[in-house]
């Protein structure tokens, strides 16, 4: 369809930061010779508008009159490209969400212009390149790496977009029947694979026999509903299955481990756990806080920007749909990537380069979280080669709600109301796609599972839901996530039944078949159960908030799910079968410890250089480039920021929020994860994740006795008994420790089959459990930061240092893994956490830092960088388990250790509070900005704090501005 084209670009005498950034991106992607790039924003408008209308609209709305100019091209005009430039144009592929186009239409409407179709594109005029086919392919390749993603965008070279997409072909509205009768298991599995259903033979057979009993074939929509609801993503078939492990039979792993800890602990602050979208925990007499962490790995591997963004959007909706709606107050995010300096030759075919993934993911989180007005307050990033095919993107959200609204229940007769974004073909089969492994072709085969988010639509949904919640207008709410309406309505209807009219759903564009509407994972949608008497008020309120809302159907009382389109029945399912008909999986698990050995390294010659190398490790180094792109201040609840110290660049262990404005009551939020330990022993990985999360909480001033935790698994192929055995081993270690710590699990999630198949090999991620910890505290004024505060203060190391360099950053810097991964001694660890908490509440310390990657040496350096002070450390003073060489003292990653900065006159009180927990004064804070490490009388290393800072900031200084500041 031909359209008007309007190009908006910077005036010739104005700076063009967007063009400059594109030049940097193309150059970084390996294209040399570019002398300049000018950026253009392009708009497409329906040809029905007159030239005068278009001109006026471009002048008044599309163009910034101070710094920009515009050019209008009439429909069908194809101006010849300028001779001295190459133009790369990036157009969203048909069906991909284009949020800006919606705003353009809104502005047309505000200006009383005719409502016409609208679209957008971006364009970069590249100067300095020759005209040749080689240059063309190089430029397009660089643009794919640095500017666009083929999966959701089309790249045009020296040509213009054709216009707006025309009307799609009409959908097939017929009820499609899928005969299963008589098929053998192989044929059933083949049918599942062909349809992208991700159901195995047992499951297909259960469906077959159910419909045999009914004497009919399932419809396509019924089969899709079953596939969505029974997906690993929705049902957690592995973790709820029966596992045979080391002679034991574990029935429902999740229930008999994680959930059992929570049940047995029975902490009184748990309001609602494992039954809702998020775990709900008491905050004060009126309100509760809730928390949820999700993964969005598969979509982020293929389209990092859209995948991460919609991950953030999804977990926000989870919290919004908790209880009778919680108000989201904070985001957290944790990523695992392959090293960003991975050589191009080492990149398996079908994988995006880790630096591309990192930048895309960060931009995705930024461009969703920031517009939502939810601060991203905490996170971490981890690196290992084995994440190359399966980067991990964990996204978390915290919400607050009145405790009186913590429980929900839909009733028969309640209206099913869909709220928010329109339904399109985006994200079809996301739930089932996430249950399969990735391979070299995934990028091209699964593009439909990837979505682009529209945060402003979600913001409107949030505003509308909160307004309706305040007036008590609905009886239940849930988000549309994996499986779309099918999962959301199916879940809410459990025990009730539902009658759904699919043609009531507003569509982004025509042409969707009923089953597509039903399982589409289009973003920004919620489903509410609304008592009929309150329906009018709810619909009016949604309209006032500019949020689209429609009645999709009615909840029934006969436990049947009936789905219609234009009054034709496309599904009539027994909800009992849908929810309980899934055959239980029986899985074999075994565990054999890998045969790693401790390396025999020559004695460390230069401990100073070793420290700089450790600080420059991607896992340890400053994440400031990432942190600064996130809004961590919005909502004005921040009382402990992600960066701390005199120049706000030191690392914080945890975030502190005071979410009720004017009140000092707060929440401390932290994470723990170390994938490398998993390669040695998954039990060590699991324990250390929990201990690290708890250390971070306690070091910041959180209360270890009022802390809840979340378990988020990312694992390999659990059909491999060893791989599942590793998971069981990790889980049991995690649960034993959580029981000792008395920290209940309140929510969790798992992402399995994180493997990438190339022609040569299968790359499996190290099994990861991210532990997120949230503590409720009475007074944020008793929280601390890690940056050194004053010359002459004593540095006190709490906890015992052991020979535990296995999986450490120090070994990694030597190219080794080792065997002695850190383990946690539960009782001693618990005593340490509580003793340190007591001491900090008694204000015995002015700063505190947990000891993790890089050991005491990295911790001292980070504290010094934050405070712009120095430290003199005597390693010989450290409490150890037996004799330990100074290298191990510096870099061992033994758990349950803290470094405290204690004013000299507070030492007696500290001693009294720590009791029999091992600790020692190991040094002093110095005004001279130097880090000095000695082993008794022997000077070991002297490092200038500025050098440490430079080493620590350089690896992820992706704008080149952080290290510039050091010399200032």
């Amino acid at each position: 369809m031909q359209a008007w084209r309007i190009d908006v670009l910077a005036k010739a005498d104005q700076l063009d930061p967007v063009g400059d950034a594109a030049k940097r991106a193309l150059t970084a992607a390996g294209l040399s010779g570019i002398t300049g790039v000018r950026a253009r924003r392009g708009y497409l408008l329906g040809a029905e508008l007159t030239a005068q209308q278009v001109e006026g609209f471009a002048r008044d709305v599309l163009c910034d009159p101070v710094v920009e100019q515009f050019v209008v091209h009439a429909p069908g005009a194809r101006p010849a490209p300028a001779a001295d430039i190459h133009a790369v144009t990036i157009v969203p592929r048909p069906g991909v969400t284009d949020p800006v186009a919606h705003s353009v239409q809104k502005a047309l409407n505000d200006m009383h212009l005719p409502m016409v179709a609208a679209g957008t594109y971006r364009c970069f005029d590249v100067r300095g390149l020759e005209r040749s086919d080689v240059v063309k392919s190089q430029l397009l390749q660089a643009a794919r790496k640095g500017l666009a993603n083929d999966t959701v965008q089309e790249l045009l070279f020296d040509t213009i977009p054709d216009g707006l997409p025309g009307a799609p072909p009409p959908p097939d509205l017929a009820v499609q029947s899928v005969p299963l009768a008589g098929l053998d298991e192989a044929a059933l599995v083949a049918l599942s694979q062909k349809g992208g259903l991700a159901l195995d033979g047992h499951e297909m057979k259960a469906i077959q026999s159910h419909f045999d009993g009914l004497g009919r074939a399932p419809t396509r929509l019924e089969l899709e509903t079953l596939a969505q609801t029974w997906s690993e993503h929705c049902k957690h078939k592995t973790l709820t299955g029966t596992v045979r492990f080391e002679g034991r039979t574990i029935d429902n792993l999740l229930k008999s481990t994680i959930a059992k800890v929570t049940r047995d602990l029975d902490r009184d602050f748990c309001v609602s756990v494992f039954v809702d979208n998020a775990g709900i925990v008491k905050f004060d007499d009126e309100d509760s806080v809730c928390i949820k962490v999700e993964t969005h790995n598969r979509p982020s591997a293929i389209e990092p920007f859209g995948g991460a963004g919609t991950g953030v959007g999804g977990v926000i909706r989870d919290v919004l749909g908790t209880g009778l709606a919680a108000r989201p107050i904070a985001n957290t995010d944790v990523f695992c990537f392959a090293p960003p300096d991975l050589g191009r030759a080492e990149l398996p075919q079908g994988c995006l380069h880790p630096l591309t993934v990192l930048k895309g993911v960060v931009a995705g989180v930024r461009d969703y979280g920031n517009p939502m007005g939810i601060p991203t307050v905490n996170g971490s990033v981890h690196f290992d080669e084995d994440f190359v095919g399966n980067p991990l993107v964990y996204v978390g959200n915290v919400g607050i709600l009145p405790t009186a609204r913590a429980h929900k229940k839909a009733n028969p007769g309640d209206k099913i109301v869909a709220l928010g974004g329109r339904t399109g073909r985006d994200g079809i089969h996301g739930a089932t796609f996430s249950s399969l492994e990735l391979h070299t072709e995934s990028e091209t085969l699964s593009s439909g599972a990837v979505q682009i988010g529209d945060p402003i639509t979600e913001r409107k949904v949030m505003d509308a839901v909160m307004a309706c919640a305040d007036r008590d207008l609905f009886s239940a709410i849930t988000d549309c996530g994996a499986g779309g309406f099918s999962s959301a309505v199916g879940e809410m209807a459990e025990g009730l039944g539902a009658d759904v009219q699919l043609d009531a759903a507003p569509l982004k564009y025509a042409g969707l078949a009923p089953w597509e509407i039903w399982i589409s994972e289009a973003q920004e949608r919620m489903v509410l159960a609304v008592p009929p008497a309150k329906l009018d008020e709810l619909l009016q309120l949604c309209e006032a908030e500019a949020c689209e809302a429609v009645v999709l159907g009615t909840f029934r009382d006969d436990n049947r799910l009936i789905v219609r389109h234009q009054d034709v029945v496309h599904a009539d399912l027994d909800l009992h079968f849908l929810h309980d008909g899934l055959p239980k999986r029986v899985l074999e698990a075994s565990y054999k410890a890998p045969a790693h050995r401790e390396p025999t390294l020559p004695p460390e010659q230069d401990h100073g250089a070793a420290l700089l190398k450790v600080l420059g490790d991607f896992g340890v180094c400053s994440k400031e480039w990432i942190v600064r792109q996130y809004d961590h201040e919005v909502q004005a609840a921040s009382a402990g920021k992600p960066l701390c110290g005199v120049r706000e660049d030191g690392p914080a262990d945890a975030a502190v929020l005071a979410p009720k404005l004017g009140s000092l009551r707060g929440v401390v939020l932290a994470n723990g994860l170390n994938p490398r330990y998993s390669k040695i022993d998954p039990a060590a990985m699991a324990e250390c994740a929990l201990d690290e999360a708890m250390r971070n909480v306690v070091a910041t001033g959180g209360d270890p006795d009022y802390t809840v935790v979340l378990d988020n698994y990312c694992w390999g192929n659990t059909r491999d008994p060893q791989c599942l055995g590793e998971l069981v081993r990790a889980t049991e270690a995690l649960c034993a420790l959580a029981t000792t710590y008395r920290t209940p699990f309140v929510s969790g999630k798992d992402s399995l089959h994180n493997e990438f198949r190339t022609t040569a090999r299968t790359i499996r991620i190290p099994g990861c459990i991210l532990v997120t910890a949230m503590s409720v505290i009475a007074d944020v004024r008793l929280t601390l930061t890690s940056d050194l505060k004053g010359d002459g203060n004593q540095l006190v190391l709490v906890g015992t240092t052991k020979d535990e360099l296995g999986g450490s950053v120090y070994y990694k810097s030597k190219g080794e893994l080792g065997r002695n991964a850190p383990r946690v001694d539960p009782e001693r660890a618990k005593a340490t956490l509580h003793a340190v908490h007591r001491a900090l509440q008694a204000r015995c310390a002015v700063s505190a830092h947990d000891l993790s990657e890089g050991g005491v040496a990295a911790a001292v350096a980070e504290m010094a960088i934050g405070g712009r002070l120095g430290a003199a450390i005597d390693l010989a003073a450290m409490p150890t388990d037996g004799p330990l060489d100074p290298t191990r003292r510096m870099f061992s990653e033994s758990q349950s250790r803290f470094l405290l900065e204690v004013p000299p006159d507070r030492l007696p009180d500290l001693r009294a509070n720590l009791g029999d927990v091992p600790f020692a004064v190991i040094g002093q804070v110095t005004a001279a900005p130097t880090l000095r490490f000695a082993d008794g009388a022997r000077e070991l290393a002297t490092v200038a704090v500025a050098d440490a800072e430079r080493a620590w900031k350089a690896p992820l200084d992706l704008d080149g501005t952080l290290t510039q500041e050091v010399s200032r």
Partner: protein, 266 residues
């Protein structure tokens, strides 16, 4: 003297309304939310208020350019009325996205007392969003409520905050004629164009503007995220040095002084 009433404007994508509401309430105003749709239905509602606040956020996603779509929506029905509101003694505060909206609307700097776009707030030189604390100096300006000579720390959090005037004469006028009410300063307290003290590359370090009669103020950094003592990034050091927290954070002065002036005029 009754509490001045502050209208806290809501709109799709505006997301700092709660903290702005709380800050004005804490300063003694009676704060009330009004959605742009309600206000457009009956613009006369504006006359009930002494203060109009346009909070920060991403109105309409900042699609096309920051604040553009909301400004366009307001222009026809509300633009002139806001101008009258100001002429009749109303006070207006635009923070971050709110500042961008007021600039697009032509309400700032409004050097000639009529609505036209004299300046813009455009892409940061880094070309991306950035959140960091900055040091600001309040200049001797036309602003009726912002005391001059203060050094303040507020967080900046935006992707399009680089102030550019439409010509060199306007640029100079902003500084020389008292429109540039707030500027980014370096460690020595001098206005700066240098990153990161100036996070976006704004010419002459201009971080905030007032209008010709000093009743409208727009600022890119956020007083609404720095009005409580625990908002400040270094409150723990302050507490160590003084034994207790101060009453306010650095942003509170804007709300207090605005409410004070509104009450005195009320």
């Amino acid at each position: 003297m009754s509490a001045p009433k502050a209208l806290i404007l809501r709109a799709p994508g505006i997301n700092c309304e709660r903290e702005t509401h709380h800050a004005f309430t804490r300063a003694g105003a009676t704060s009330e939310y009004l959605h742009i749709q309600q206000l457009l239905q009956d613009p006369r509602q504006l006359d009930r208020f002494a203060i109009l606040a346009v909070p920060g956020g991403f109105s309409y996603g900042d699609d096309i350019s920051s604040g553009r779509v909301l400004a366009q929506e307001m222009k026809g029905k509300l633009g002139e009325r806001v101008l009258q509101f100001v002429d009749r003694g109303g006070l207006v505060l635009g923070i971050c996205n709110g500042f961008q909206v007021l600039v697009r609307l032509g309400l700032l700097p409004c050097t000639k007392a009529r609505l036209e776009e004299e300046v813009t707030l455009t892409h940061n030189l880094s070309s991306h969003y950035e959140c960091r604390w900055v040091t600001l100096k309040t200049e001797k300006s036309r602003c009726l409520f912002l005391p001059a000579g203060l050094l303040l720390r507020w967080p900046a959090a935006h992707g399009e905050g680089r102030l550019v005037a439409r010509d060199a004469a306007t640029q100079q006028l902003l500084v020389d004629e008292g429109f540039a009410a707030v500027r980014y300063v370096d460690d020595a307290g001098e206005p700066t164009e240098r990153y990161p003290q100036n996070p976006n590359g704004a010419r002459l370090g201009i971080a905030g503007l007032c209008n010709h009669n000093g009743r409208v103020l727009g600022v890119m950094p956020h007083p609404d995220r720095s009005y409580l003592p625990t908002h400040m990034p270094d409150w723990r050091r302050t507490m160590l040095a003084h034994g207790k927290l101060p009453e306010d954070g650095d942003g509170m002065v804007v709300f207090r002084e605005m409410v004070k002036v509104a009450a005195a005029e009320g």
